[in-house]
């Protein structure tokens, strides 16, 4: 076994940690189920699925569009004077005409309309941005001109060619409970990484070993980020499998803007790519928070201080995002919680003015979080380079 494997043995492969991972996985799946159950109550999921699978799924053909329009009109006409029967009718989709009307008018028609009219609506955004380019060029406003050029470049030629039921995908994208589980487990695993060495007094021994210098510290840093990656991956896969079964998920190959909440997203990628991107950003955000936990473990002498400071940092981070502005000023982009709930970064186009160049907020947020991680790692390495023990500790122990 190498040093990294021993770190896994010391801090991860413990019966109570394994139990907690499994327990949190179960709680998380229950959370996913309850989240879906709540949303499914809001609309007629079962009947929507029947019509969707039979008539609508896949390429948006003229035939499908005409079917939705004609059925919606027919049902509105039949129920307009409220005299139609409310009794069960096997020829209807939902059991009676009123149910059919609500399903088409409130669910199916708006969704199909969004997909069909997206290209047109989006073109208006592009035209507006094109006008802005001329306007800001005349005003010599370089940043705004470049920003609008970027908007045109991002949004032009967008079209939704296929229709998918993306409700399940929306629940999946908006599900945050697993992030809390990941944070909780990572704090429990990482908090003792340096403190554990102090409590066992191994920190007095390791400097006398060949690999007990900065190499051991690097191993602990690598272990920390490996754990974050592993736990984040585990819960993300569980979320994906859980929602695929419970929701279910469809439209992995659809563009991100096919989801109405992402109508103005600057992303021109497929949903499966967005899931991968979201996972990477969430892991980075969690990694930033956990690097602070690791620093606390390095600095403090008692595990309670590490847990206390970790809880404080996570709480402040999470509370800070609630006062976040839609335009994301820079001080908000350094908040790791924004990467953990990264969907907010992709709902609209937002950019930061960096030397008159528009840099998308997500890039600034990633750079800021990477800088925090690099600074924390540098601090830990520096703290470990010369002095491996709190000086006072040795003296006090010798005195005791």
């Amino acid at each position: 076994m190498n040093l990294l494997a021993f770190e896994f043995k010391k801090y991860l492969f413990k019966p109570y940690i394994i139990f907690l991972v499994l327990f949190c996985t179960l709680i998380n799946l229950m959370g996913a189920y309850l989240s879906c159950a709540y949303y499914k109550q809001i609309y007629d999921h079962e009947n929507f699925q029947k019509i969707y699978n039979r008539f609508l799924r896949g390429a948006l053909t003229e035939e499908k569009i005409n079917f939705v329009i004609s059925e919606t009109k027919r049902l509105q006409k039949l129920t307009a004077d409220q005299t139609a029967s409310r009794d069960y009718d096997p020829k209807t989709y939902t059991g009676n005409l009123y149910g059919d009307r609500f399903l088409f008018s409130l669910d199916i028609y708006p969704e199909v309309k969004y997909a069909v009219s997206y290209a047109y609506d989006n073109q208006r955004v592009v035209e507006k941005a094109s006008d802005n380019i001329e306007f800001f060029a005349a005003k010599n406003n370089l940043y705004e001109r470049r920003k609008n050029e970027q908007i045109v470049s991002i949004y032009r030629n967008r079209v939704i060619r296929d229709f998918y039921d993306l409700k399940g995908m929306k629940y999946f994208v908006f599900y945050d409970f697993s992030s809390l589980m990941i944070l909780l487990l990572c704090v429990l695993i990482i908090a003792p990484v340096f403190i554990g060495e102090k409590e066992t007094k191994m920190d007095q021994l390791t400097p006398s070993f060949k690999k007990g210098d900065v190499r051991l510290v690097w191993t602990k840093i690598i272990f920390t980020f490996t754990v974050v990656l592993f736990i984040s991956l585990w819960f993300s896969v569980c979320d994906l499998i859980g929602f695929s079964v419970i929701a279910p998920l469809d439209g992995f190959n659809a563009p991100v803007f096919a989801m109405k909440v992402f109508q103005f997203t600057p992303l021109n990628i497929r949903l499966y790519q967005y899931i991968l991107l979201g996972f990477a950003l969430k892991t980075l955000g969690i990694g930033t928070l956990i690097s602070l936990v690791l620093l606390a473990s390095r600095v403090f002498d008692r595990i309670t201080y590490v847990f206390g400071s970790s809880a404080g940092v996570i709480l402040i981070t999470y509370l800070a995002q609630f006062v976040a502005k839609a335009s994301f000023p820079f001080y908000e982009l350094i908040n790791p919680a924004l990467l953990i709930k990264n969907r907010y970064l992709f709902m609209n186009y937002t950019a930061q003015n960096i030397f008159d160049y528009p840099v998308q907020s997500v890039i600034v947020a990633v750079a800021a979080n990477l800088t925090i991680i690099a600074s924390v790692v540098a601090l830990i390495i520096l703290a470990s380079r010369n002095v491996c023990l709190p000086k006072r500790q040795i003296y006090m122990e010798a005195k005791a």
Binding site: F209, K210, D213, V387, Y395
Partner: protein, 293 residues
């Protein structure tokens, strides 16, 4: 082999190690001093756990910071009151130490078996460290220090928590290991080093107050150790006034051994000094420290 030159360490205004210089070659060195004398700080600086504020530590004529890999490969260290990882089995723990010491993989199993046998822990190799007694943990600490056949062994209060039999076993083990090695034992328990150390270093308040062989050190207090018989009523009077190294009750009378520059009473007889009396004389330690209480 190992030299410390004008080594200094301060904690605020308190000087824990005060310009200390010494050369260690092969043999057993006993660093004796009361709690807070600076022994642990000195050893922590030697193994690189803390950086000195001044002075240098040389290994084979080179500063250890420029020669670290070579130095740490030659050092085995046992810290004070080690706890280790409670979830590890002893053999797993030693395997981890082998990895930290960068001992070639092919040699590990053999060395682990060897050091476990050396400290009489072979039968407990598969036991979790959490189930070990204090003495067993101390022996495991000695075992890990022996891995890699280091030329320098440094033990900080190695007999803390050991019962008398284990203390004797420890001393015998150290004596056996001392050929061609430098062994440094820091302790405040005089008998730990009295019979095995070739050189004793007396430390007090961060300084070396005296060093030499036990016989040479004893020579320094020759004529300063007295023995006298007193009644029960007089014992308290002597305790308050002199440094007492031993009190013995025999036939209703108390025999006191007193360390003092002149005879404490007319009827006091000069006695042959022991190392613990030199220790008391030079460090002003109390008698209870000598027996490890």
């Amino acid at each position: 082999m190992l030299q410390i030159c004008a080594l200094q360490k301060k904690y605020g205004k308190q000087c824990a190690v005060d310009g200390l210089s010494f050369s260690f070659s092969s043999g057993i060195y006993g660093i004796l001093g009361p709690n807070g004398a600076g022994k642990t700080t000195l050893l922590a600086m030697v193994i690189g756990a803390i950086a000195p504020d001044g002075g240098q530590i040389l290994f084979n004529q080179l500063p250890i910071e420029r020669n670290r890999d070579s130095f740490v490969s030659s050092v085995g260290y046992l810290p004070q009151n080690p706890i280790f990882y409670k979830d590890f089995r002893a053999d797993e723990f030693l395997s981890y130490i082998c990895e930290l010491k960068d001992i070639p993989k092919a040699q590990r199993a053999g060395q682990i078996a060897e050091v476990l046998a050396e400290v009489n822990l072979t039968s407990a190799a598969k036991k979790k460290i959490g189930a070990y007694s204090g003495g067993m943990r101390q022996r495991l600490g000695i075992a890990q220090a022996l891995l890699g056949y280091p030329k320098i062994l440094i033990f900080d209060e190695p007999t803390a928590g050991l019962d008398p039999i284990e203390r004797i076993r420890f001393r015998n083990t150290i004596s056996r290991l001392s050929a061609d090695r430098t062994i440094i034992i820091a302790t405040h328990i005089v008998p730990d080093v009295e019979f095995i150390a070739q050189t004793v270093i007396l430390m007090n308040q961060g300084k070396i107050v005296l060093s030499g062989s036990p016989a040479e050190i004893n020579q320094q207090v020759q004529g300063k150790v007295w023995t006298l018989e007193v009644s029960y009523q007089d014992v308290d009077r002597f305790i308050g006034k002199y440094k007492i190294s031993n009190i013995q009750l025999f036939d209703g009378r108390y025999t006191l051994r007193i360390v003092n520059d002149f005879a404490p009473a007319e009827y006091a007889q000069p006695a042959h000094p022991r190392l613990e009396e030199a220790y008391i004389y030079f460090t002003e330690a109390q008698a209870n420290e000598l027996i490890g209480l």
